[in-house]
Symmetry: C2
């Protein structure tokens, strides 16, 4: 058909954005090149005009996904009066987050598979985790070590809550993690308490 360079950039970004969502939903190996291109309104043949290989696209999609995660989390906490441990727990451990993995934390969505991927993927994960430990920790009033532990807990709880059949059990996993974490870090009680609404929602 013939496409402008602006079109190409737009197409490229759409492919990456769609891949970021679908990978969180179906896993890094969960869908093929053709399916992603089709959802972007293109055919599979043009794929290699954008990426050197499928692994290359996975890396770009993960980078994009992590950036999305950070922005969404920041906005969601902003809606709860700014960053705080309480706001973080409420946002991250919400049933809405559990039920919409495509819009949720990429770490929790694909970590098990990432553990088996190459160093390129692992470096992206490491950067994301370090961002939590270095950038987010002080905003929540936590040390790096505390932040790593809190992240492990919430990500683990989210993943486990998605693996059980019974929804009551799933809720207990999320609620239990929130309640226990609050008890662990109960030094500085805050006053404001936003109503428990849904997480990671629209801007």
């Amino acid at each position: 058909m013939g496409y402008s360079q602006a079109q190409k950039k737009e197409n490229h970004e759409r492919i990456v954005s769609i891949a970021a969502t679908r990978f969180r939903e179906a896993g890094l190996d969960g869908l093929g090149v053709a399916a992603i291109m089709k959802e972007a309104g293109l055919t599979h043949g043009g794929f290699y005009a954008h990426f050197g290989s499928r692994d290359d696209m996975v890396a770009q999609a993960l980078e994009f996904a992590f950036q999305e995660d950070e922005e969404r989390l920041s906005r969601a906490m902003g809606r709860r009066g700014g960053p705080s441990l309480d706001a973080f727990l409420e946002v991250y451990l919400s049933p809405a987050h559990r039920d919409t993995p495509g819009q949720g934390c990429t770490l929790a969505a694909v970590a098990c598979e990432a553990a088996r991927k190459d160093e390129t993927v692992k470096r992206l994960f490491q950067n994301r985790i370090e961002t939590y430990a270095i950038k987010l920790a002080p905003q929540l009033g936590l040390t790096e070590e505390q932040m790593l532990m809190v992240l492990s807990t919430v990500a683990g709880a989210l993943v486990l809550s998605r693996t059980v059949e019974d929804s009551a059990m799933s809720d207990r996993i999320l609620e239990g993690a929130r309640h226990q974490l609050r008890a662990c870090f109960a030094e500085q009680k805050k006053g404001g308490k936003a109503p428990p609404s849904s997480m990671y929602s629209v801007a």
Copy 2:
């Protein structure tokens, strides 16, 4: 060739056992029927004499894997003077556990993928998690809710520790979780302290 019923049972168990290990290493979709049968010393054709479908084998392998997990964990804590929170944390959060997923916790190995599987798989996961909450919690002196939170933390930490490139960072994730969890549940200090050796090792 012709095989006795005892042979068939033995072959069946070997297939399931091999699958349990390989699924933990490569993921539930990480290797095909042919590869598993080959490792069991058989060819792919005989597969459907043992299982109705690949999903059927996945379910049997998970059931077997969870049973293995429970027994190995019990033995490993036994080697540290019996079940206790300290023993559990030392065993579960060891670098040896992180580095040998094939012999380690199945929850941590494949939870992200299990979240996308059908109810059959989810029921197996739920049973496993309930076993932690009901059977193991009292042995560690924890409530069910505390046990769920501890399980979320250790599983999350193990998964995350496997996703990073730098081994020092990986160690920090494990150590941080152990240190912080100990601080959270520091009511009843025990006396005995086994040397930190490797986890989930031979009987």
